[in-house]
Symmetry: C2
DNA sequence: TCTGTAAGCTAACAGTGTTAACTGACTGAG
DNA sequence: CTCAGTCAGTTAACACTGTTAGCTTACAGA
């Protein structure tokens, strides 16, 4: 009689408490501070208790990071308002940089840590849904630039170009996150470097002959919807 | 007597043996496999013995990675032969990518791990010496492009532009190293992505009005020699 | 011969992730 | 009402990790 449901609810609740404790430790003291024992202590449980909810420390950490992909996507809502596809792409890059600089710990977990395989069904995010999945969103922006005929021929493979754009933004912030306080290289503020690199890369991809919308080529239209993308739990 | 010299020599020798053992473990089994106990076992010492030669595990690891910066610089010797400065820059990017893909473990240690402060004098590399220091070398290439009048005005700050170029290359390889086997994004081969991004970025930086060598502007000429750069031990 | 130095060893500390075996509360069936 | 089963959570351990205080032992210089 619904008691099994209550138990399931309780189980889910403690799972959430574990995640909350882990997240609190994580944002306050960084990646290394998150130990099973500390998490357990924070919620007054035994370390072993966590293992009835998560297979691994890795699984816990990944469940943690997973939900941040939604946060990242949300931080890009504003760019959709921009009409010009190329400017939209540029703004997306800026939003990405901003997110990374505002949440360096999360960024580190999301993009600078190797993830194990996670089943698509175990994720909050629907892969390839540009409304939830930031990677699919970026890919969509690139595709719009292509369809508007704004990119040179060699940049008309949406996937590769998406990865190039991603890599440009990631390069700036990840370099800054790991080496920003390294006295050997005096880093400019990453926002400045990113601006420069994104401008250079995007300008370099642009068609010199100006816009004039044309119907997408067959090749472009055939690009499959982005089924491989980012996750959330 | 010179016996003190002999002792110093012996001390140095065991230090090198420790480093060699650590390196062997490192390249064979990766970063995580390098534990003080395993290193000690490999050279038939006690873990504690290592601490008479290195303050820390970190110091050991850094001493390890340090020598690789020279290796990296060496892998770029060929690009100096290229006459055109812009093509030289492009080739430098390619060499960087190649090095990273051929030595992913080293790359990870060198550029994807936070380094503690190391005294300049404790390094094999002379900072800012383009002949030893890869970062200074890159900076030199950028400066040559600037002095040849090949870059648009906004890219004429050598330091920031150097960082942008570095970030582009780093973005591609670091993304690939951490997420290359991630089934959620189907990565293109990084060489392809890198080619695309480097071309876009460099083309985007180029002056549309073609070359014709001009004497460097005052602003450019005043750029200080690159005193902050990469190390080696 | 005695003394100081210092490389290396022993043994331990405090921490880590993880697991087998147990406890105790609660559920549903007989 | 009782009995068996389920399962969240605990206990206590294992096998690791980096690191250090204190000892031993060899050796150089006076």
């Amino acid at each position: 009689m619904g008691s099994t449901e209550r138990r399931a609810r309780e189980r889910h609740a403690t799972r959430e408490r574990i995640l909350a404790a882990a997240r609190a430790l994580f944002v306050k003291e960084g990646f290394e501070a998150v130990s099973m024992r500390k998490i357990a202590a924070a919620i007054e449980y035994t370390p072993a208790a966590i293992y009835t909810h998560f297979k691994d420390k890795t699984e816990l950490l990944m469940a943690l990071g997973d939900s941040d992909f939604g946060l990242m996507r949300d931080s890009m809502r504003d760019v959709e308002k921009i009409a010009d596809p190329v400017e939209r792409l540029r703004a997306c890059g800026r939003a990405y940089i901003r997110f990374a600089l505002e949440h360096p710990h999360h960024y580190r977990l999301m993009f600078m840590t190797s993830w194990p395989y996670i089943e698509p069904k175990d994720c909050l995010i629907e892969h390839g849904n540009a409304d939830e999945d930031a990677h699919a969103f970026l890919c969509g922006l690139v595709r719009e630039c292509i369809q508007a005929g704004r990119l040179r021929p060699k940049y008309r493979d949406a996937h590769t170009t998406t990865q190039a754009c991603w890599a440009a933004a990631h390069g700036v912030v990840s370099l800054y996150i790991t080496h920003g306080s390294d006295p050997w290289v005096d880093f400019k503020h990453p926002r400045e470097t990113a601006e420069l690199l994104l401008d250079a890369a995007i300008d370099g991809m642009l068609n010199p002959t100006p816009a004039r919308d044309r119907t997408p080529r067959t090749r472009v239209a055939k690009v499959a919807p982005d089924t491989k993308a980012r996750r959330r739990a």
